[in-house]
Symmetry: C2
């Protein structure tokens, strides 16, 4: 079965419009390229009860879950606590993380920093090559930071774990509108029920009016559907196929 | 009570990394400026059961809900059906929308276009000045399109409905890290429990290391908290206050 993923962004700063998310957008592109199907993204405030509820639901509904944000040393960093509650375990200080923090901060180490050594009891640490600190995994939940540079570095260190059968995509750009196109697409969807067919209208692009996407993990199936679709469309409406 | 909002993005194209959302980001900024508290954003596939489930939950949990996407004439446009199911009503063709479509498309009108005249039974139509087509509202759920230009034009036409008591925000930029800052912030949060306090570390900005945000709808309360916070911080760590 294709692997599914869910993404939980813990971020008052996104909800209040202070910053625009880039981590979920990045992860969607990366996971897609790896062949993983992102089924759901949620953005919630830095509140432990909400994090608990989402992590519990996401962890049950998806093969893998990624959280972003809420993992620093301050009062509003409550993701670890939320993940622990969702898994019905306590929060403990991990000796390996304490050692890393001691090494990094030296004499400047404060109590608050040690909050970053906390993990849900039973969590694993994954040490990638590309990140200074290991990534915390609790069952199927990967806890990543909100800062985009570190988020990407940490994900790079673990990405190969998620590689799956790639999704095959073909695009058909047409010069007709969705209203006329609808019948052709409905026929295609009926005949190839295993296909994901999308249509994306453009309102200010002089080259084409709609991009039709045809996708599946089965390359042959996609190519067969594409040939069928192109065979039925009036040839003069097809602008480009990629 | 402050007004709360939830945003539901219906979008395979976001989940599969084909496009990056701009509608939720825009709406968060706009609603924030209006004094509305966005509590939750979710991105889900174009699947009617998922839309139904989310709309039902969001509508119960928030004062207002906005959906984006899934409202065109093709097979994957199922938002109206999802909203109708969530409200336990059927889908009907609205005569005013049929008339608009007939006028707009003339002889080129297809059956598929008439799908865009469908609304959940009992829905209201809001005619703004700035959009060609009215916005469909079903109880507290505002149905907006996925295409960003049209999304914005439609929201502009209805924005004044949502104006609430503004949220007052002050920012303190400091040259110390979160580890040292944590105690000062914890004290502040304890003393001013009605405050939303956030901290945003910067790792590559030479000017400051952390931005602290202090927010509430009560301007006096924020100013009092700000004065207390600044009075306690060593003066040489405060880079800037805005």
């Amino acid at each position: 079965m294709p692997k599914t993923a869910g993404i939980i962004l813990v971020g008052n700063e996104i909800l209040s419009g202070k910053i625009q998310d880039v981590n979920a957008a990045y992860l969607c592109r990366e996971l897609r390229a790896l062949g993983v199907d992102v089924r759901r993204i949620v953005v919630i405030p830095d509140e432990v009860e909400l994090i608990e509820r989402e992590v519990r639901a996401f962890s049950a509904d998806h093969d893998v879950v990624f959280t972003s944000g809420g993992v620093g040393p301050t009062h509003d960093d409550v993701t670890i606590e939320g993940v622990a509650r969702a898994m019905d375990v306590g929060v403990v200080r991990h000796p390996a993380l304490v050692a890393l923090l001691e090494q990094y901060y030296g004499d400047a180490l404060k109590d608050a920093h040690l909050k970053m050594a906390e993990v849900p009891a039973g969590a694993e640490l994954l040490s990638g090559e590309s990140a200074r600190f290991p990534t915390i995994v609790m069952r199927n939940v990967y806890v990543l930071p909100g800062v985009p540079e570190i988020f990407r570095r940490k994900f790079d260190g673990i990405r190969e774990r998620f590689r799956d059968v790639p999704i095959h995509l073909r695009n058909v750009f047409v010069s007709i509108g969705e209203g006329v196109l609808a019948d052709y697409m409905n026929d295609l969807v009926r005949e190839f029920p295993g296909l994901a067919v999308g249509s994306y209208p453009e309102f200010s692009n002089p080259e084409y009016r709609v991009k039709v996407t045809i996708e599946s993990r089965d390359r042959e199936y996609v190519e067969q559907a594409l040939a069928t679709f192109l065979g039925r469309l009036p040839t003069d409406v097809v602008v480009r196929v990629t």
